[in-house]
């Protein structure tokens, strides 16, 4: 089974405020507020760490869920965020040019 890689889309603006991650699409100005899981996914989406490792190390510990179930949910979420242009997903590592913190500023 192939692994999935996720990366933050550098074409969006992102800021964290009081633990809330807000993201605005640079293309159509749509504003998104990420929930806790989506925020972890966004902050971990460095293009180099496979999604299953992000789930295992960052999500399972936080939410006490089974790895297989968490991975399925994370894949669904990643594809949803990719559909909004927030994340990029690929079966290959994705070169990144955004700041490691996950904030675009």
């Amino acid at each position: 089974m192939s692994r999935l890689y996720v990366a933050r889309n550098p074409r969006v603006a992102a800021r964290s405020l009081d633990g809330e991650m807000m993201i605005m699409s640079g293309q159509d100005s749509t504003l998104f507020t990420l929930n806790r899981t989506a925020t972890i996914l966004w902050q971990s989406a460095d293009g180099a760490t496979p999604l299953d490792e992000i789930v295992e190390h960052k999500i399972c510990g936080e939410f006490e869920v089974e790895p297989a179930e968490a991975l399925r949910d994370a894949e669904t979420l990643a594809r949803e965020l990719a559909g909004h242009g927030i994340l990029q997903i690929s079966e290959q590592p994705i070169p990144q040019r955004t700041a490691p913190s996950g904030e675009s500023r």
Partner: protein
């Protein structure tokens, strides 16, 4: 010997909003008078301007002012279109051209868009809000249509200077922000005073049975501010700039919810 040349008065004026003078050139004296009336208090006949627009008046066709506005940039040239106008502007050359019929609404939209584009690079913005000065401090009252912008403007006592009942002009200055008067009016149909003052607070308007002010969490404050910003450009760099400007504003200016019953007592809470 009779004079062989006649000095022709240039059909031109400068519209100075928010400290950014824009010269408008036209070949039509009637249109010039129309602009002088429309922007009364914001016009002068001469002087330096930051941007210069030539206006080409065209015959009425079938304009559709309700058509979506499009603001795009290609190779340093902005194109602004709506059903009732087509404008182009080159910031580097500080010149542009507007094609429209002889009406004040089209050029009004063009000016608003151009101001948003210039302000976005400077940390400022235009905001759907009423604004007013009291005791040397500016207060913004933001909200969607029917939220109470015109109502609170109409209720303002005599010691309040109204900047606008519809679209506020906010410019970043040093560590703070300054609100300027605008000629952009809402239902009140009264031009704001052409003055400015440091912004002291942003109130998110809500109508209710009593007057009260409540704190607003930073996240909600930022979302509300973003929801009320005027911005039209399909431009990733400027969208990102305006996004970060909203966070900067919320980090420096108190944002509160103002629930008010529509009578003059609400102003006892302001200032």
């Amino acid at each position: 010997m009779p004079q062989l040349t006649t000095e022709i008065e240039p059909l031109s004026l400068v519209i100075d909003i928010g400290g950014m003078p824009v010269r408008v050139n036209t070949a039509d004296a009637g249109f010039l008078r129309l602009l002088q009336d429309r922007y009364s208090g914001y016009v002068r006949s001469s002087g330096w301007s930051e941007i210069e627009f030539d206006v080409d008046l065209v015959s009425p066709a079938t304009p559709d002012p309700a058509a979506d506005v499009r603001v795009t940039s290609l190779q340093g040239r902005w194109t602004l279109t709506r059903g009732d106008f087509h404008a182009e502007w080159e910031p580097a050359a500080r010149r542009g051209r507007i094609r429209q019929t002889a009406n004040p609404y089209s050029i009004d939209a063009v000016l608003r868009i151009v101001h948003t584009l210039v302000l976005a690079r400077q940390g400022g913005f235009l905001l759907h809000s009423a604004s007013a000065i009291r005791n040397g401090k500016a207060f913004l009252f933001a909200g969607v249509s029917e939220a109470g912008k015109t109502t609170i403007s109409r209720l303002a006592p005599a010691d309040v200077t109204l900047l606008t009942d519809e679209i506020s002009y906010v410019r970043k200055q040093g560590d703070g922000y300054v609100a300027f008067g605008t000629p952009f009016t809402g239902e009140l149909a009264k031009l704001g005073e052409n003055v400015s003052a440091p912004v002291s607070a942003l109130y998110l308007l809500a109508k209710g049975r009593e007057n009260r002010i409540e704190t607003v969490a930073p996240g909600e404050a930022t979302r509300s501010l973003l929801a009320n910003l005027l911005f039209f450009a399909e431009d990733e760099e400027l969208v990102q700039a305006i996004f970060h400007s909203a966070f900067e504003f919320v980090s420096r200016i108190p944002v509160r919810r103002l629930t008010f019953f529509p009578d003059a007592r609400v102003w006892e809470l302001i200032g």
